[in-house]
Structure formats: structure tokens, C-alpha cells
Amino acid sequence: MTGFAAYLVFFLIVALTYSIVVMGLNLQWGYTGLFNAGVVGFFAIGAYGTAILIGPDRAHLIGGFGLPFPVGVLGGMALCAVAALIVGMATLRLREEYLAIATFGIAISIQLVALNFESLTGGAQGLVGLPRPLFGLFDSPASYNLFYLGVVAAVAGLVFLALETAVRSPWGRVLKAVREDETAARSLGKNPAAIRLEVFVLGCVLMGLAGGLYVGFIGYVSPLDFLPILTFQIWAMLIVGGSGNNLGAVTGAIGVWALWAMSGLAISRLLPVAYQSQGGAIQVILIGLLIVVTLIFRPRGLIGESDSVSKHTGAR
């Protein structure tokens, strides 16, 4: 494989992993109006949960159960579900920006736990040397990456199909009703509190799934991978792609990650070495600019939400 093709494979693995996170956020925000600003926290829980379950036994660390990778990922997702249930019950009475502040703080706390709970998470060094699933069956890293891209694409595709089927049914209609007007939904026999909690947990479980896939690919976890900037990148992907549309979520994930990667490349090529470290800020500025430009010129995103929710009522 040429360098470019190898890079493209690497790029797509990361972008599709993030697309799963964006689809989870889309379920929460796009369909139900839950302002989750703690995305990275649940991605981290999935990643650490998986890492602890699949990692080799180490004397100085708790965990290291050496379980098979799929079991580890499922375990990470289950851990995410429990965490989301607790966080959800504590915070979901809050509305919009208040929920955002609370979840943002919780994500920071999760990252700090990862950084400081050394006997479980390995602290600042993280957990390294994690087994990559079926790595031994491939003769070169490039062919392994191609295989892993297939795995991630299959999982992302499955998540996409499952979500599309679910939201384009009466369930999606109820979510949207809760998003549009909770009081009216309540007066019409829906229980918004239960619906919000259900959606919060489901969305966070998808973020945890992506965290597990991420760990399987890079083979280690480090608290530096779970800084708040990732939450904003994920939000940018959803806003740019089109909130309330799963295809928009995937498009946004690939598009924004491409912009991020290319701008990083451009900065490293064009800026003098002395300014390289400051140059990273340009990427962050670009993300902010992209969000603002999208909100002004295309508020519904590249692929916006469709008027009809249910596939049964979309066409005459």
C-alpha cells in the first residue's frame, strides 16, 4: 500500500469510530434535544472499561482480566450504561444549557479520575500494551489496519441501520415530540422523564462502544485522549453534518475529521518549527469558525432533518 492509501485507511478508522459517537449524540440532541456536553466522558468510560477487561494482568494494577475483545467492548458499553443511568437520574431534570454545564463537568471529572486513579487506570501513563484483536493473523500492520477498518465500518453500518430503523418509527416520533414541547408531550400521555433517561443511556452506550473500538485499534489508553476538545469536535461534526439526521451525523464525522487532519498537516508543513506548538490552536479556531459559518449559512447542516419522522408517514 502506498503511504496515502495507508493514511486513508487510518483516517477512515478514526473517522468512522467518531461517527458512532456522533450518531449517539444525534440520538440525544438531534432527536430528543438533550444537550450532552460530556460526550468525551462516556467515550472514555467505554475505552477504559474495555482496556481494563481485555488488558493483560499486571501486578501493580487492578483489573487486567485478559478477556476477549468483544467481551471487553460489551463490558465497556455496560459500564457506560450504568454510568449514564446514574448521571442521567441526577441531571436530566436540568434543561438545555444547565444540563450542558452539568455533563461538561462530569466529563472533566471522569477524565480526572482516569488521570489520578493510578491503580486502575495507570494514571498519566495510561494502560499500554493492550492486545489488538486478531493482530497475530496478519503479516503487516497495513493489512491489519485494512481488516480493522472493515470491522469498524461494519459496526458503524450496523449502528446506522439499527438507529435509522428505530428513529423512523413511532419511537422516533415520541423523541421528537419530547424535543419539541415536553409539556405538550406530557399532556398527551408520554412520560418525558422516562424517555429522556432511555435516550441518554442509549446514546452514551454508543459513545462507549466507540471508545472500545478506539482502544482495540490504537492498543493503549491515555487520559490525554479524552480532553474536552473532543466533545467540541463531536458537536461540530453533528452540527455541520446535520442534526436530526443519521446520514448527516456520519457525513459530518468524516468531513470535520478530514478538515481537522488536513489542517493539522498544513500547519506542520507550512509553519516554521518555532511556531508549531502554537499552530495547533489554529485547528481549534477552524472548528469554531466552521460551527459559526454552518449556523449562519446552513443552520440545518449539510444534510438536514426531514419533516416526517416515521417512514410510514413520509410518503403518501
Partner: protein
């Protein structure tokens, strides 16, 4: 929904042969049927302000009961308390003998009480059709796994609900806008969307909060027609309204509130001549 006698199936309305009755003559008085709402000693206070201060009355089954009173009398607060939006501080609310006071709104709804809002609350980002289709309770498709595991059941249910929703939409004169976003139609049409949603629930009683406010005369006639027609089929109504013509022509029984209490009730003609009622309205106007 819970047991008891139900009003005739509204799905029979459809497009065929709906009479263009208007005016308020010759309606059967409330006898038997479902939708008897009994409000007893209800109190709802916000801090020191007792917005509803020991209100009791009965909205008989099969009747159109009017609730009037000057601004600030506590009518909408009472509605919200009855519908479960506010828990009661004291008193009880019964629907056909079943206690519904202080239940959450979605449980009150399950007992057969549907309501509309003073300022319409449509699901603005959804089409009119989906606003109405959202309503039926316990749709199998409201469980996300059923769309994966039992798609046939969900599709059948959706077809049935869509058919019924479109009948009700036609009955409410909204067919032309059924594919438009509910947030993009006129305020009067939004009131009709709320009525349509209420009807989709197949309720025993409907609470309407100022159905005529801010509605143009032509649409108002439509709304009055529909209420009369539905009432003929046995549906009970409790209506807050300031438009006296509307109330006088529509209601069998009127309850008058002022400063959180019931000050008079009875037949429209008697109530309107009551000196206390005149005083409450004029007193309010002079202040």
C-alpha cells in the same frame, strides 16, 4: 385506557356525511355516558397566592361546561391542576368516580382526559399528521426494539393510526396542511391541531383553554361546529373562554370564577344576570 363507557368511536366521523351543524339548540342534556368531572375543594397556591382557593363544581358527562371569569380568576391554574400539570395542595378531582387529582399529566391522560393550551403548543418541527399520529397510547412502535423485532406489527399499527389520524384531520379541516410543519401554520390552525390531537386520544372529556382566542371568525365557526358535533356524539367538554357569544351559544352549564373561587354557576342565562357575576366583571374593569 381505563374501563367504563366510552363515547362513540370518533373514527366514524370520517369525511362522509359530517353535518354542518352550528348553533347550540337541541342538544341532548348530559345523561349517563362518560366524562363526568368532579372537582372538590381544590386548592393550588403559589407561595402566599392561593390562585385556586377551594374550588368545587361538577362538569356533567355529555355536557359542555363553560368556565368563565375575569383575568386572574384562576381558571387556567385550575385547568393545570385538573390535568396534573400542578399537584394539588388540597381537594380532589374525579373522572367518572376515579381519583385523578395529583396524578402526573400522562396518567391523567390515560384516564381519558385530554386538554389543549391557552397558547397553542404544537410540536412545531413535526408535520400536522405526525402531531396527531403521535398521540395514541401504548403503540408497539414506541418501544425501539419493536421496530427491529416486530416491524410487521409496527407497520400495521402505523397504517391504522394514519388512517384514523387523517379522518380526524379532515374532521378538523386541516387536510390541506397535514404535510406541513405544525410550527408553520396559523395560530388558529394550531388550535385545531391541538383539538385533533385531543380527539386522537379518544377521550371521555376534553378541556379547552380559550379555543376561540386569536382565531379568525371563519375558523372560529369551524371550531364551534366541531365541538357541537363531537358533543352530540357524547363527548364531554370543559371550556375556558372569554368570548361571551361563544360561551352562551355552546354551553349547557356555566361556572364563574373570581379570585380563585367559584362565585356562581348554573344555566347560562341565569348566571349572566347574577349581580355577583356582573360585579366581578365590572369591578375588574373599573380597577
Amino acid at each position: 385506557m381505563s374501563g367504563g363507557t366510552r363515547p362513540p368511536e370518533l373514527s366514524a366521523h370520517g369525511g362522509n356525511g359530517r353535518p354542518a351543524t352550528s348553533g347550540g339548540t337541541g342538544r341532548p342534556a348530559g345523561d349517563g355516558g362518560a366524562g363526568r368531572l368532579e372537582v372538590a375543594d381544590v386548592v393550588k397556591a403559589f407561595g402566599a397566592n392561593r390562585a385556586v382557593d377551594g374550588v368545587s363544581f361538577v362538569a356533567e358527562a355529555g355536557r359542555i361546561t363553560g368556565l368563565i371569569g375575569p383575568n386572574g380568576a384562576g381558571k387556567t391554574t385550575l385547568f393545570n391542576a385538573v390535568a396534573g400539570e400542578y399537584p394539588l395542595d388540597a381537594g380532589s378531582v374525579r373522572l367518572d368516580g376515579e381519583q385523578i387529582g395529583s396524578l402526573p399529566p400522562y396518567r391523567v391522560f390515560s384516564h381519558g382526559l385530554a386538554r389543549t393550551f391557552q397558547i397553542p403548543r404544537p410540536f412545531g418541527g413535526m408535520t400536522v399528521l405526525e402531531n396527531v399520529m403521535c398521540v395514541p397510547e401504548r403503540q408497539a412502535g414506541e418501544r425501539f426494539w419493536n421496530s427491529w423485532l416486530r416491524p410487521g406489527l409496527v407497520a400495521r399499527e402505523e397504517r391504522r393510526n394514519m388512517e384514523r389520524a387523517r379522518e380526524i384531520i379532515e374532521f378538523c379541516g386541516l387536510t390541506k396542511v397535514e404535510r406541513q410543519l405544525a410550527g408553520a401554520i396559523s395560530g388558529g390552525q394550531q388550535k385545531l391541531v391541538e383539538l385533533a390531537r385531543a380527539l386522537m386520544a379518544d377521550p371521555k372529556i376534553v378541556l379547552l383553554d380559550e379555543p376561540g382566542a386569536g382565531v379568525n371568525p371563519a375558523l372560529l365557526d369551524t371550531i364551534v361546529d366541531r365541538i357541537v358535533e363531537l358533543n352530540k356524539r357524547g363527548l364531554s367538554f370543559l371550556i375556558i373562554e372569554h368570548n361571551m357569544d361563544f360561551i352562551m351559544s355552546l354551553c349547557d352549564h356555566i361556572v364563574v370564577m373570581a379570585t380563585g373561587r367559584v362565585i356562581a354557576e348554573g344555566e347560562p342565562d341565569t348566571v349572566i344576570a347574577d349581580p355577583q357575576v356582573i360585579d366581578a366583571y365590572l369591578g375588574g374593569a373599573i380597577q
